[in-house]
């Protein structure tokens, strides 16, 4: 079965791969003295099911999300990037990070089906999976400027 340590590494490595390749930004594991989360946040979530089921949530501030979208689209933030584009970009990040995690764990847990991502905006948003869920949290420091939070909630499917 997957260990917490290996999953933590898979989440961080997958996120790094996606940010370096598609967002052209360096992502490092955040330290205590790093940037803090903005008040207004976006949460991109994507669920998965199989022998292991759960939910990956990616939370970041609104300004961080705008920077991610502008980098992915090759646009300047002042060029008027729409809210839909920003939401879509965060959803795609969740989709790609989950895909990269899936590629890393599927030898261990077998195939898992992944949903289509969704994104919500609000204050202090967190994903949830109810009782008996394990949680892996990785706080990332994006370009020494923004905090981005990856939360992988999962449980073994006994059905």
């Amino acid at each position: 079965m997957m260990t917490t340590v290996s999953l933590q590494d898979h989440v961080l490595d997958s996120a790094r791969e996606v940010f370096e390749t598609m967002v052209f930004m360096a992502l490092e594991e955040a330290q205590d003295e790093g940037p803090t989360m903005e008040d207004k946040t976006l949460l991109g979530t994507i669920t998965f099911k199989g022998r292991v089921e759960g939910c990956l949530g990616i939370g970041c501030g609104a300004n961080c999300a705008l920077m991610i979208a502008s980098n992915m689209l090759g646009m300047d933030p002042s060029e008027g990037i729409s809210e839909d584009d920003v939401n879509d970009a965060v959803g795609e990040i969740a989709n790609m990070v989950m895909g990269a995690i899936k590629a890393r764990i599927q030898d261990e847990v077998g195939n898992i089906d992944v949903s289509i991502p969704s994104v919500v905006q609000g204050l202090e948003l967190r994903n949830s999976l109810g009782d008996k869920a394990n949680e892996i949290v990785v706080n990332g420091n994006l370009e020494e400027e923004h905090l981005i939070r990856f939360s992988l909630l999962y449980r073994e499917n006994e059905g």
């Binding site: 598609m22 795609e92 790609m96 895909g99 990269a100 599927q106 992944v114 289509i116």
Partner: protein
């Protein structure tokens, strides 16, 4: 004669990102189209075929594997090259979609170099 490209993805942002990556790869298309679903793509293909389709796998309404099968039943798509672009990297899925008629498979995250490597041979 110039080449034509269609990008099929339910995410408008991802369609823009793919278009940007194609441009960065150095590949040139005279005509580009977009479709937000497999259904919309098939409707557009009935009106006129394209040389290359870049198609997502996980889409609502009609997924990419279904779209490939239906496109391959259309006479107008006989010469069309279809390359899937997806976060799904399972070999079983890749084998299945290639058997269904896809000509290539690119996994996300992708780079301009990956597009060049996979698409250039199909355009010659």
């Amino acid at each position: 004669m110039g080449k034509s490209l269609m990008i099929v993805d339910d995410s408008a942002t991802m369609r823009k990102i793919i278009m940007r990556t194609v441009r960065m790869s150095g590949l040139e298309f005279d005509r580009t189209e977009e479709a937000g679903s497999g259904v919309e793509a098939l409707q557009k293909l009935e009106a006129g075929a394209v040389d290359v389709i870049l198609c997502d796998v996980n889409m609502p309404e009609m997924n990419g594997t279904e779209m490939v099968k239906k496109a391959r039943e259309m006479a107008s798509c006989n010469g069309t090259k279809i390359v899937m672009v997806s976060t799904e990297s399972g070999q079983d899925l890749i084998d299945q979609v290639m058997a269904d008629g896809a000509d290539g498979y690119i996994t996300k995250p992708f780079t301009p170099e990956k597009f060049q490597e996979k698409l250039a041979p199909l355009l010659n």
